[in-house]
């Protein structure tokens, strides 16, 4: 193999190491199997928005720790929590819902009800949920 090609190959291999490390580090944030659904948003993008953050986890989890500025909204206390959320929201503001991890469906359910029942439009689900948020802010 001519020298430049060997060097090129070496560079290709070298790049693989940090890439693999990153892939392991961010394993919770990106699914290799399927593309995030259209209403999912990753932590970085979400933070650029002046969005209203909603925590769909159970109340105890919210009390222990939650994203700064996030409001609790879960199915158990829906009727009590929803009015405060609706009063904090302003037209044009996006809503981002998260639950504990990628696998939980509570955020998806909350987002669905906000859209169908409250008639809100820009409702997003945080990819990777709280776990992804934690990874980002470690």
């Amino acid at each position: 193999m001519p020298q430049p090609l060997r060097a090129a190959f070496l560079v290709l291999m070298l790049a693989l190491l940090p890439a693999a490390g990153e892939a392991i580090y961010f394993r919770q944030q990106v699914s290799w199997k399927q593309r995030p659904k259209a209403d999912e948003v990753d932590v970085r993008t979400a933070q650029e928005w002046q969005a209203l953050w909603l925590d769909a986890r159970p109340g105890e989890d919210f009390q222990r720790e939650h994203a700064p500025g996030a409001m609790p909204l879960n199915a158990e206390n829906w009727d009590e929590l929803l009015p405060d959320v609706l009063k904090a929201w302003t037209p044009g503001r996006k809503l981002i819902v998260y639950c504990s991890a990628q696998s939980c469906d509570a955020s998806r359910e909350v987002a669905r009800r906000l859209r169908e029942e409250a008639g809100l439009k820009d409702v997003f689900v945080l990819t990777g949920g709280w776990e992804a948020w934690k990874t980002e802010h470690r």
Partner: protein, 219 residues
Amino acid sequence: MKMKVLLALGLLGSLSDVHASLKWEQSQVELHPAPGDATAVGTFKYTNTGNTVVHFKSVHTSCGCTTAAQTKDQAAPGESGEITATFKVGASTGVQQKSVRVETDDPNEPFTTLVLRAVIPQLMELRPTFIYWESSEAPKPKIIAVKAAKELNTRSLKVTSSNANFATKVQLAGPNEFKIEVTPRDTANPSDASLKIEPDGGGKAFYATARVVNPTRAN
């Protein structure tokens, strides 16, 4: 050579026939809580059909709204038992699916996922539960459509607005269906109201929110 060793090992394994195995009567339970129930409880029954003791290592639920409990820490050969999963209904609606992950020391099947499906009836459906006027908008009435479940036998609704700025009017829109017309007195200043909606048959109240709000710039 390798193949032979593997084969021999396999034979040995099947001859000794020491195995533990939990047989679940069903791995999915569907529940239909009655209107107003606070919890829905599903029971998953198992029997140890193996000839060694199976120990439960952990039982995890997929969501904080579900709790699971096993009555025993282990199952001796031939022994039966059950794991109960309790789903807190709260204000959930529609079909809720929660899973319970059971971990045992059974080498053949260390993990079992049990599924609890709860179909929760909705007594009253409000569409939407939220109406708002931007402060530049004219104070025209907006409608909340209400569908009540047949069981409620609703003939009229009582709507109470927490803020005098929002006037409400109820119209019958069909059998068990109503329209609530909400009109703000003015849309000059921000204000909000909680609308309490009660069926005449009594029971649980439902809530909607009305607001006059200053718009933010879209982001």
